[in-house]
């Protein structure tokens, strides 16, 4: 059933899918979203904020399902998906890093920053192990 026969890739994709599903439930369910906002330090949150959180939750849900699809396909079929994931997670990590660095009082290493870094690292490992890195199969001419 699983066409990807590289065990580390299967483990990483499964874990990232699980984390994405957890976050999607957190953002899509109003009670969970409220608790999430409270834990971020009491930011002001209105109906519009929850609307956008719901949208992000939907994207997380799609990514969780996308990871499952990636498990059921060969690495060659997933080349573009892996590139999108690496770009997305790199940008998310940079954003989390930027927020941590520019916070008043110096910020610090927070759980979301570490999670974003780990997810980026995970997708990089998956991408590298698939043998699909740009340069190995993209011709620039």
């Amino acid at each position: 059933m699983i066409k990807n026969n590289d065990t580390p890739t299967v483990v990483i994709l499964s874990l990232v899918a699980f984390v994405a599903l957890t976050y999607s439930f957190m953002f899509l369910n109003p009670m969970n979203a409220e608790a999430f906002v409270d834990r971020t330090g009491g930011l002001e949150q209105g109906q519009a904020g929850y609307f956008w959180m719901g949208l992000i939750g939907t994207i997380y849900l799609a990514l969780a399902i996308g990871n499952i699809f990636a498990l059921l396909a060969t690495p060659q079929e997933c080349a573009v998906y892996y590139r999108v994931m690496v770009t997305l997670t790199a940008l998310l990590f940079l954003r989390a890093l930027w927020i941590a660095m520019t916070q008043e009082g110096g910020g610090g290493i927070s759980a979301p920053l570490v999670m974003q870094g780990l997810v980026w690292l995970g997708t990089l490992v998956v991408y590298t192990r698939s043998g699909q890195r740009i340069g190995s199969n993209v011709l620039w001419s």
Binding site: M1, I2, F18, L21, T22, F25, M26, L28, N29, M31, N32, A35
Partner: protein
């Protein structure tokens, strides 16, 4: 699709899929919509309690749609019908009281349509007509893998325990869970959890005789993952408080999840 080349089967399964998908999405992500439509002004139950039960029902529907997608690629599977048909019959029965109280019969009509779709698809798919004509496998659950066998037996025992305990002490689940508040409605909603376990008992009994089903392992994996993620979110929401939860329920959900993951990864290469 469904390895039948029959357009009627595709359409009938498509109708069942669409209805289950709609209910799964509503029950998991926006249960308020359903609760508002079945509101009985004479009562005032705790809505958060009802939402917890609706979430579980949504999870059952999400499992069903996963099973339909899986069968779309791999072919029809009797074990799925041994779960889905009784579950939908129980759901129709369960819907009668809320429909009578609110005058809203949409749920009964839609779930009946979903059931009809499954019955038509099953009748045309070439599976044996008599549901009780079950071939006997060489061994229990049709496998010599001890881990698979033990986990499936464990699933059967735990679900049977859920059913039996409901009849002995129907209020037990709500009273033992600090996050659930007792009301006549909550008590009625908790009956649906027993129906879900009963449907699992039926399909596991079928599999014990005929051999394990990869379709149902995928259904179980989907349901257990959603339940586990839901539980995780509840724990995060309550700052991992040890006093707000139900340890027995948490153990059941965790065992269901871990067992399903092991079953899936041990057997997926044979599917």
């Amino acid at each position: 699709m469904f390895k039948t080349n029959d357009r009627v089967v595709d359409i009938a399964m498509g109708v069942s899929f669409f209805i289950a998908f709609m209910y799964a999405a509503m029950m998991i992500f926006d249960p308020d919509v359903l609760l508002m439509r079945y509101d009985d002004p004479s009562s005032n139950p705790d809505m958060d309690t009802l939402k917890v039960f609706l979430f579980w029902l949504g999870v059952a529907n999400a499992g069903m749609i996963t099973g339909i997608i899986y069968m779309g690629y791999k072919g029809m599977d009797r074990a799925f019908f041994a779960f889905a048909v009784p579950f939908l019959i129980f759901s129709i029965y369960w819907n009668i009281t809320p429909a009578q109280n609110s005058g809203n019969f949409a749920g009964i009509i839609l779930v009946s349509l979903g059931l009809l779709g499954l019955i038509i698809a099953r009748a045309r798919s070439g599976l044996p007509r008599n549901p009780f004509d079950i071939p006997k496998a060489d061994s229990y659950f049709g496998t010599n893998d001890m881990v698979t066998k033990v986990l499936l037996f464990l699933g059967l025992i735990m679900n049977a325990f859920n059913v039996v305990i409901y009849f002995i002490r129907p209020e037990g689940l709500i009273e033992d869970s600090p996050f659930l508040i007792m009301s006549a409605e909550a008590q009625y909603f908790s009956m649906a959890m027993m129906f879900m376990s009963l449907a699992w008992v039926l399909t596991l009994l079928y599999q014990m005789r005929a051999g394990y089903s990869m379709t149902m392992i995928v259904v179980g994996l989907m349901q257990s993952t959603l339940m586990f993620v839901g539980m995780l979110n509840f724990m995060i929401r309550n700052n991992f408080s040890t006093t707000d939860g139900n340890p027995l329920l948490a153990m059941f959900i965790t065992t269901f999840f871990v067992g399903s993951v092991i079953l899936f990864f041990r057997n997926q290469s044979k599917a």
